[in-house]
Symmetry: C2
Subunit: 207 residues, 2 copies
């Protein structure tokens, strides 16, 4: 139960205590189960079985712990697709978001985070950081698409990400409709066709 952190470890040889993944998992479970308001470092200590003092040593506040749990936990992570085409990559990406929302545990985390973001400025800041971080991680996908000439360089990828994530949010979490009618596929096809048209127009302007 007792985790000791030496000054050396704290100075950066390690990027967290030994049982970091368990602490992150407990943090996300607690957020999902009780929401942002009721989230406490004490609760995470209890759930993970890691000493409270250890957790505080690495994360002096609730928001620092939650930020690292959201950004670094394997629970919300997925590999970047690289199918060779923007449509393929967007389809894969949308499918992975769909997968996160289909899994009750991760769905509950996403729900608690998005609901908390509307109510609490601190939670909103965390969600914004999370979305920025994911957009940064996905950037190579969009850079490759620009290099292949599939995506106009002046089109903000955040627009695509917000449209896909937002539509999935409304459909799955608000309307609670199944996606069996290939909702994601149709949406990605629509956006991809829209991007092609924008690219062709830009090409004609240059030509």
């Amino acid at each position: 139960m007792v985790d000791s952190v030496t000054a050396q470890e704290r100075a950066g040889e390690r990027s967290g205590p030994r049982r970091k993944e368990e602490i992150f998992a407990a943090s996300l479970e607690l957020l999902a189960g009780q929401g942002y308001d009721a989230f406490t470092v004490e609760g995470v200590a209890q759930r993970s079985g890691v000493n409270k003092t250890t957790i505080y040593r690495w994360w002096p506040s609730k928001s620092e712990l939650l930020r690292d749990a959201l950004l670094q936990s394997g629970t919300l992570a997925f590999d970047l697709p690289d199918t060779g085409s923007l449509t393929g990559d967007l389809t894969e990406l949308a499918g992975r978001v769909e997968g996160l929302l289909a899994e009750p545990e991760t769905r509950a985390v996403v729900e608690a985070a998005l609901v908390g973001a509307v109510r609490h400025p601190a939670m909103r800041e965390l969600v914004t950081q999370f979305l920025e971080d994911r957009l940064g991680r996905h950037q190579p996908l969009f850079t490759r698409a620009v290099e292949r000439g599939e995506l106009p360089a002046d089109l903000d990828p955040a627009l695509l990400v917000d449209a896909v994530a937002g539509a999935l949010w409304i459909r799955l979490l608000v309307r609670r409709r199944p996606l069996s009618d290939d909702f994601t596929g149709q949406l990605v096809a629509l956006l991809a066709d829209g991007i092609s048209a924008a690219r062709e127009r830009a090409g004609r302007r240059r030509g």
Copy 2:
């Protein structure tokens, strides 16, 4: 303070008590201020100054009162655009949703409803009914677009509505970013171009 409803009135000659709009306004204010959990018919009576018994006579439950307030109140209503083109109509429609989210009072109602929808099945049912109702009201816009040959008949308009509403939700309520970079215009243009491409493809398949 005392509103009396005769049997005749109750039987359908009128569709609600005299001070219906005030009751609806008070209901939405209460939802916005306190959320779905703390919403009570008593609270609405207090805020609107209408006798509790009168309200109960027309709306026997909290969810019936909230449903009618969401569906019928002028607060969340807007006229259907008819600009002569699908792109024009979608731009107008997105602008009106943007307007609702820019106004603190209506924004608070939308936030409380969407947040409540994630947490409470009863509130979710109300939001789903509200979205269905709006989609029904907007249907003439999509029917006209199909008649003008602008929208393939097999493309579900709900997809367009979810993408625009979802993207605005993520951008305005989660990320809290301003829309000064013509976010809505770019998104609608992308979707409209995507629809054109889908239509042309469908035309070639037929041709």
